[in-house]
Amino acid sequence: MNHWIILPLLLPALVAPLIALAVRHDIVLQRIFSVSSTVILLVLGAILMWSTAAEPVQSYHLGNWIAPFGIVLVLDRLAAMLLVLTAGLGLAVLLYAINGWDAEGRHFHPLFQFQLMGINGAFLTGDLFNLFVFFEVLLIASYGLMVHAGGAARMKAGVQYVTINLVGSGLFLIGVGLIYSVTGTLNMAHLATEVGRVDAADRALLEIGGLLLLLVFAVKAALVPVQFWLPGTYANAPPPVAALFAIMTKVGAYAIIRVYTLIFGADAGASANLAGPWLLPAALVTMVIGMAGVLAARRLGEAVAFAVIGSMGTLLAAVSVFTPEAMSAALYYLLHSTVAGGALFLIVDLVNQRRTGYTDLLRAAPPFAHTGFIAALFLLGAMAMTGMPPLSGFIGKLLVLDGVRESSYAVWIWGLVLVTSLLAIVGFARAGTTVFWKSAAVGGYLEPARPLAPALPFVAVGILLGASIVLTAFAGPVTVYLDTVAEQLYNPTGYIETVLPTSGHPEGVRP
């Protein structure tokens, strides 16, 4: 048993209370603890990712209880890769936030660490009920972060966000309960072997449970028709928090990928490929609504929030085909859209801090400090997000188009991806022109309301945009790696055999 697997959970779980209790009066110490913890998480993620090269699936049985009776953490290539992505994004966001955002309210750093713990847990867990628990851990931290720094609009948007997620949690429990009632297990590897053997009479219950879970994950992934919470939440959240939330929609996508390839995958008998027919139309509508929203946005922050919805549509359209080629493309797009979305939210805040009185409204206003440089950063971020060459968005969309070629709905996906990309380009071009270029024609100069922070915010944005450039430059090796990740998802035998005892699969516990 590889004890390193539990560390991405233990480390933030220990550091967060330490920050909240021991060093709560000293913001500098808080920052040191928080940044070091996140750096260590990044290193840990890299070590775990390296270890999956030798041993693709590793399991960690908590308390040494045998699965499916005990709780189990599972590390495979997908989980390891997402741990690295989380820590990397977390580090960039943290570097941005320590320039003042973290001092606007209390307990930013402990909540941030708990948030990382919840996300890491959701990626590592091998059990549906624990997935629910880790969703709650990451959500309760996100409630705190969402209303960080206060303000009436933020509180109201926060109440909405909490309400929607609590309803989602209720549905999650109903889905989990339905699946448990007919299979007698919640361990994902055990479920993978059990769902094929469910009685025909109970199949309706099982599939309702499976589709309820899809609905819950769709809420997290901001998929139409349950995407409505995202623009209000992201546009009102503190921008560094919104940038961190770029990974939260991916948690929903991860849960969809995991549950519907492992449990309701090709081996699930009559329930095989449960999600595909529902996911594909929803993803295509999401793409259209998201990118049309970019065009309709009245603020830069709204435009980015809608672009995040649109990119989730593209990502899940590729997932919904459920072939290894399309999955590999979807994973590349997942990496890309996380860093691009995170970078854009930070850039919006750079604009926000400098345009006193106008904030990020799409209206011509006098130029502000660093206009040219921020305009260039925004151009890079928007190019990546909309999928213009040469950045990673272009390669991502190209891979998605290539990956879905075999699907019978390829024409629809191709058409909509191309049309919505155009919409997004027009939307971002309009937004960028209004904020940066038309401003040059207006006389005067906007003084920032507060003294501007030193270079660190630009470093944070640079890390994320740099990651996009690295993804482009090393697209070859990255896609080769992602092919092995996707291949592992479609050969769940290794996963099941690692988690469950080798001496035959235990029968269900029900009498």
């Binding site: 606007e104 009920f129 628990v133 709650e136 309760i140 409630y143 209303v147 720094a149 206060g150 303000g151 009436a152 609009a153 933020r154 509180m155 109201k156 948007a157 926060g158 109440v159 909405q160 909490v162 309400t163 609590l166 309803v167 949690s169 209720g170 429990l173 109903i174 989990v176 309960g177 339905l178 448990y180 009632s181 209000g232 546009a235 009102n236 603020r299 922050g301 709204e302 926000n352 904030t359 990020d360 409204l361 516990v509 029900r510 009498p511």
Partner: protein, 115 residues
């Protein structure tokens, strides 16, 4: 017994959803509480309804009550309790700050949070 329990869950859930749709904070909080009750009851009976059965394997007993849903529902109750506390505090803060207990956002609410 099945009919009683099922209709009790259904009615609680329906009342909860009705209150949720009122879109004012106090009914929404109460509605969420009712929905959580319904969900917890539902989760509890996924181990089947049994009477007078031991919850652990016991000599001389052919059947037993499934202990796992009880463990699950215990966790779910704790989590929902905590979440209810969070939303009560947040709803109160939102009411104090905006002087309105409407849950829905109005157009002029967007972006006012910029500090």
């Amino acid at each position: 017994m099945e009919f009683l329990v099922a209709s009790a869950i259904g009615i609680t859930m329906a009342a909860g959803v009705y209150l949720l749709l009122r879109a004012r904070t106090l009914p929404v909080v109460l509605g969420l509480t009712l929905v959580t009750y319904a969900v917890n009851l539902f989760l509890f009976i996924t181990g089947r309804l049994t009477i007078d059965q031991p919850p652990v394997l016991h000599q001389g007993h052919e059947n037993f009550a499934d202990p796992l849903p009880q463990a699950l529902v215990l966790t779910a109750i704790v989590i929902s309790f905590g979440m209810t506390a969070v939303i009560v505090v947040m709803a109160l803060k939102a009411y104090v700050e905006s002087d309105s207990d409407h849950v829905d956002l109005h157009p002029d609410d967007h972006g006012e949070a910029d500090s």
